[in-house]
Amino acid sequence: MMEDQEFVQEFLIESNENLTRLDGEMVELERRPDDHELLASVFRTVHTIKGTCGFLGFSRLEALAHVTEDILSDLRNGRRQLDTPLTSLILESVDAIKRILRSIETASTEGEPFESELIPRLQQARDGATAAPPAAAPGTAVAEPPAAAEPASSAKGAVADSNLRVDVGLLDRLMNLVGELVLTRNQLVQYNAARDDSSLNAISQRLNLITTELQEGVMKTRMQPIGLVWNKLPRVVRDLSTALGKEIALEMDGSDTELDRTILEAIKDPLTHIVRNSCDHGIETPAGRLARGKPVKGRLALSAFHKGGHVNIEIGDDGGGIDPARVKAKAVERNLVSAGQAERLSDAEAVNLVFLPGFSTAPMVTNISGRGVGMDVVKTHIERIGGTVVLSSQTGRGTVVSVKIPLTLAIIPGLVVSAGGERFVIPQMNLHELIRVEGENIQSRIEYIHSTPVFRRRETLLPLTDLSRILGLAPDRRPDEISIVVLQVDQHRFGLIVDSISDSQEIVVKPLALQFKGLNGYAGATIMGDGRIALILDVPGIGQMSGMLAGAGQQTPAAAVASHGGQSGDRRRSLLLFRAGSFGRLAMPLSQVARLEKIAASSVERAAGRPVVQYRGRILPLLSVAEFLGSAGAAEEDLLHVIIYRNGASELGLVVDEIIDAVEEAVTNRHGCGSSGLLASAVVAGKITDFLDLNAVASRACSTDPESLHRLEAALAGSRTLAEEVPA
C-alpha cells in the first residue's frame, strides 16, 4: 500500500511537470504544426500518462488520455492537420487531465465525473478524422475556466510545487563543499579553543551549529529509501522462480530505510546477486521442499534497518542451506584451500568460503547465477564501501546473508589517537571500547603469553598489539599510563595500544593516492582542525598486519581462508584450555570466548526443560561440556565455571570443571578425532589436547532446544535473526 502511494506521488510529480510543459508545447505546435519533434514530445507525454494511470487503476484518466493520444497519433502520422478548434479541444482535454490529477492529489480519487460531455466530443473529433468537427464549437473549446478555477486555490503547497528535481552532480558538489566547510569549522573551533575571546567564541558556536545542521540537511537530500533498489526485486524473483519452476514468496521489511545514494548505487548489484543466488541455489524445487516436509512455497525475506549508525540488510531464505562439507570439498577441488586447511575449518567458517574468488557451488552452471561472478564480487563490492558481509546457514533450514554498511561515506565519526608522534583516526564503526590503565605497576597489568601481550578485561583475555610497533614508529608515551583502544572486526576483538587518545570528531574521508595502493593499514586521510593531515586507520588491515586477524581481503587463497576462518593452521592461535569430566585437557579458540564467569549452582533454573541462568538481563542457556562429550560430570559443586561462548548473535554458557589456562601456541601434530563432539587432537604446550567442536556444540544446543526457547530469547533480546523465524 505504501509503495502504491509512493508510485502515485511520483506519477503526480512527473505528470504535472510534463503537463505544464505540454501547455506551452501545444501553443507552439499550433503555430508550427509541422514540427515533428514537438508533436512527438506532446504525444509522448500523453502516452506516458495513459500508460501509468492505466497501471495505477485510474480508469477515467486513462480513457481521457487514450482518446487524446489517438488524436495526437493521427496528427503524428500526418492523417490530419492540426487546426485551432482541435488544439483547443486537446488543451481542454489536458485541463481535464490536470483537474483529475489534482483531485487524485488532494482526495486520492478521481473525483466527481465531469468529462461525460468532453469525451464524446473528443471521440467525435477522432472518428470524424478529416471532417472538421463542428460540434466542438469554438465557444466551448476555450475550456479554461471550469476546470482550473476552483481546485487551484485549495491545492496550495501541492506535491508538484513542493518538489524539485535536482541534478545529482550538483548534490555531490554540495556534499563536497559541506565536507570542506566541516573541516574549516573544525579549524575555527580549534583556533577558538586556544584563545579567550568571547565574541569569537559566540561566532564559532553559531557556525558550529549551522554547519552541523547544514551537513545533516545536505546528507538528507542524498538519502534515498532502499525500496528504490528493492522495487525491482519482485520482478527478478518472479522471473527466476518461473524459469526455475520454483515457488517463491518475497517478503520485504523496512523498505523505507534510507541510505546515501552513492551507497545505494553501490549495493544494487551485490543485493540483486545475493537474491538471485538465494532463488537459484538456496530455495529448493517444490518437490524437494515437499520431501523435506516444508511448505511448497519458499520464502525469501529481505529486511533492512538502522542500527548503531549502520544500515543492516538481511537476505534470508528457508531453503536447503549450505552444506559445509560440499563447500569444503569444492574449495579443495578448486585449489582454493588445502585439504588440511579445509578439515580444520568449522562449519560456520566453511560456509563463508563461498566468498573466495573463483568459487561457485552450483553443481551445474545455470544461466541465472554461477557465471563466474560469484559471491567474491559481492564481498569485494560491499567491502569497498566500508561494509561487511557474513553468511550463516543451517543445513536444511536456510541461509541468511547479513550485510552491514555505513550510512554515508563522505563524513564519518572517528576517534583521534596518537602513536609515535603522529595522529591517526580510527573509524567509530570498528570501535568497541576504550581502556586506560594508570598507576605504578601498569606493566604488570599487561601479561605475556609467550611474547604476545594480553590484557585481562573483565575476566577475558584481550590480545593486544601496539600501533607504534605495527607502523614502525618509536612510541612516545608516559611510563605510568597505557591507552588501549578495543577494536572489533567481525567477531574478533583486539586491543590496540596507542600513545594517547584525544577526542572523537566528525572527519571528512579523503581517499589516498595511487602511490599508497599496496598499504593495508589505511582507509584514507583527513585534514584535521589545525590544517594538518591525519591518516585514517583501516582496522581490518591493522588487525591483519599485527597477525591478530590472520590474513584478509584479496591476498592468497590461504590468507583469505584464514580471514574467514579466523585462524590458519600455520599461525599461532590463542586457545583457552579447560577440563570437563574425564577430558582433562580441552581447548577452544580464545576468539570464540566472550567471557569467563563463575555462576552459583543455585542460580541455575530451567526453561523448557533445559538449564539456563539469568545473565546480564537475558536468559543464557547452559550446556555441560562433560555431558555433551558423553562423560560423567564431576561432583556437583557450588560454583560453576562457565565459558560464555558467542556464536553469532547468540550466546551459550559452556559449563566446565575448571579453566586451566589461556595460551598462544602454534598447534602441531594434529590428527583427526573419531569421537563425536571433538574436532581433533593436537599437542598444545607439550601436552595432548582435545579440541572441542564448537559447531557441534552450537547445533546440539539448537537441536535439542525447542524453538520456543530461542524465540523467547530473541524476544527478550529484541534481536532479529531471520533464522529464528523460519518455520520448522
Binding site: 595511487l514 602511490q515 599508497f516 598499504l519 585534514i527 594538518r532
Partner: protein, 143 residues
C-alpha cells in the same frame, strides 16, 4: 620536426630535469609533510594543498640519487596527473624553456634503467643535457 614545447626545468642532485609546463600546477616551498608509515620509499608524506591531500615524492629517491643536504630545503613541484595532483620534491627550480625537436634525442640505452624508464628523452642544450621526464611513469611507483 616536432612542434615547440615549453618546459619547466628543475635540478635534482646535479641532473637537469624538465617536464611540460602545462603539466605543472604550481611550485611551493616549505610545505609541512605528514609522514605515512610503511609507505613506499619514494614517498616522503602527504601535503595539505588547500584542502586537497597530495602525496609528495622525493625525486632523489625516485632516481636513486644520494639524499639531499640537510640544510637544503626541498621545493615542491605540484604536477597534474590523471589520478590527481602529485608533489615532486626537487632541489632547485630553473627557467621555463621553449624547445623544439631539433635538440631532442631518445635516452641512450646505457642510462641507468631506473632513470631511463622515467624519461621521455634528452634535449642537448649548450653545455648541459636536459632530461625530459615522463610524468605518468615518474609518479607510478609500481612501474
Amino acid at each position: 620536426m616536432s612542434p615547440v614545447c615549453q618546459y619547466a626545468t628543475f635540478r635534482v642532485g646535479g641532473h637537469c630535469l624538465a617536464i611540460p609546463v602545462l603539466d605543472v600546477q604550481e611550485v611551493l616551498r616549505g610545505q609541512r609533510l605528514t609522514p605515512v608509515p610503511l609507505a613506499p620509499h619514494a614517498v616522503t608524506g602527504l601535503i595539505n594543498l588547500r584542502g586537497q591531500i597530495v602525496p609528495a615524492l622525493e625525486m632523489r629517491r625516485l632516481l636513486d640519487l644520494p639524499p639531499r643536504d640537510g640544510e637544503l630545503d626541498p621545493l615542491s613541484v605540484v604536477v597534474r596527473t590523471e589520478h590527481g595532483a602529485v608533489s615532486l620534491q626537487v632541489d632547485e627550480i630553473g627557467d621555463v624553456l621553449e624547445l623544439d625537436g631539433s635538440t631532442f634525442e631518445l635516452p641512450p640505452q646505457n642510462v641507468d634503467p631506473h632513470l631511463r624508464s622515467r624519461l621521455v628523452g634528452v634535449h642537448k642544450l649548450k653545455g648541459r643535457l636536459l632530461l625530459v621526464l615522463d610524468i605518468r611513469r615518474t609518479v607510478d611507483l609500481n612501474a
